[in-house]
Symmetry: C2
Subunit: 218 residues, 2 copies
DNA sequence: GTCTATAAGCGGATAGAC
DNA sequence: GTCTATCCGCTTATAGAC
């Protein structure tokens, strides 16, 4: 993966979409997410992804011309899911309600899409070679808007004074941790978020601690 | 890297250590940390690590017979550094002081050893193929002891009732986030922990929020 | 669209001189 | 201990039949 290629935008659709083509593409993307999340870009092999998608390697490469194209497509789709909960953070709600809801949504994402969370995390940890462009535009814009929301809450005395970026980082960190470090958590507790009681315990701990931490008059 | 090989313990010293041998080994480990953290195990190339260590690939392979031996050695050394702050968490201190100190120490680690943090994180995210053994013994024992410390604080009414594991996960998550997601944080804020003011801002936000969240009577 | 076969090149590891 | 040269397996990607 050359550094220039890594910055290139996702190529446009390569061909007219047929029904079977759409279905195959979707199966490939699902399989690719799973394998890339487990082994990283370099560690994943195309024939492994093809097998997981139930087709031959040559056929997979008919849909995505290169491994890198495929990686890029999976990541783009992942980022879009990743952004959704933050988009929903509602400036007009009560801060406690809005933040509590956001924590629950992010934790739900960690439960339902742990592989997507890990894939995204690995991409960022390696310096976001593919996503840096999109992070600097789409994510930065969205975060800026939410920072203003938080600032307004603080000005109105509805939230204790916290630097908004750091609050957002705390929310991301605490909720994503359960997906990204699931192996460690399973080793230490024997459980993960797929266990309903454990999910509720985690949600409760995060909501209680952070909301008590940032809401005025505890 | 076969799955059985991944679980094998670190091999014993391969030869008598000479002064120059020690120095080389240390330079190799530093270089390997940097390259593995940036590209992962599969993405890193031995000749790249050798170049970063200022020697030939063949010479590096004289010190570490395989790429996997080298990876294992780097990880083991990393885990040891990673555990240190938790070992220091002092049951006899005031909980607020002890936790505040722990947050500061972990954040300091994120500032000084961001690559080690990311390497460790990537290993865990991929299911801890190499470290799972050590996590289940060394880490689990240590965490168990600290869980009891936290439980005692709660029983004594010096800490609000929080499930201790989740508190520990929150502390890990919030502090490690600044190393592991540094690329994202730099994109959004233009800064990282190497900026003293930013470090202090982050420390302050985490300490204030979490301590307010878990200490009794605000 | 899907397959088999193969080209092409990368990268880990070794041989053997010095 | 360090080097140069080389081997060889593995993996991406293509060619071309069906």
């Amino acid at each position: 993966m050359s550094s220039t290629a890594r910055l290139a935008p996702v190529p446009p659709a390569r061909r007219l979409k047929t029904r079977i083509g759409e279905a195959n593409e979707s199966r490939i993307l699902d399989a690719a997410l799973s394998v890339f999340a487990r082994l990283g870009f370099a560690g994943a092999r195309v024939d492994q992804i093809a097998e997981a998608a139930g087709m031959s390697k040559a056929n997979l490469l008919y849909y995505f011309r290169t491994k890198e194209d495929l990686y890029r497509a999976v990541l783009t789709r992942t980022l879009d899911m990743w952004l959704e909960p933050l988009r929903e953070l509602d400036a007009d709600s009560d801060p406690g309600t809005a933040l509590g809801h956001y924590i629950a949504r992010k934790l739900e994402y960690s439960r339902l899409q742990p592989e997507a969370s890990r894939l995204f995390a690995m991409e960022i940890m390696q310096g976001a070679p593919v996503l840096s462009c999109v992070l600097a535009t789409d994510l930065a814009d969205l975060v800026e808007r939410k920072v203003r929301t938080i600032e307004r809450w603080i000005e109105d005395g509805r939230l204790a004074p916290v630097e908004p970026h750091h609050l957002i980082f705390m929310l991301w960190a605490t909720t994503q941790h359960y997906a990204d470090f699931a192996a460690q958590i399973r080793t230490l507790t024997g459980k993960d978020l797929s266990d309903d009681a454990f999910f509720e315990e985690a949600r409760q701990a995060i909501v209680t601690t952070i909301l008590k931490g940032v809401l005025p008059r505890g």
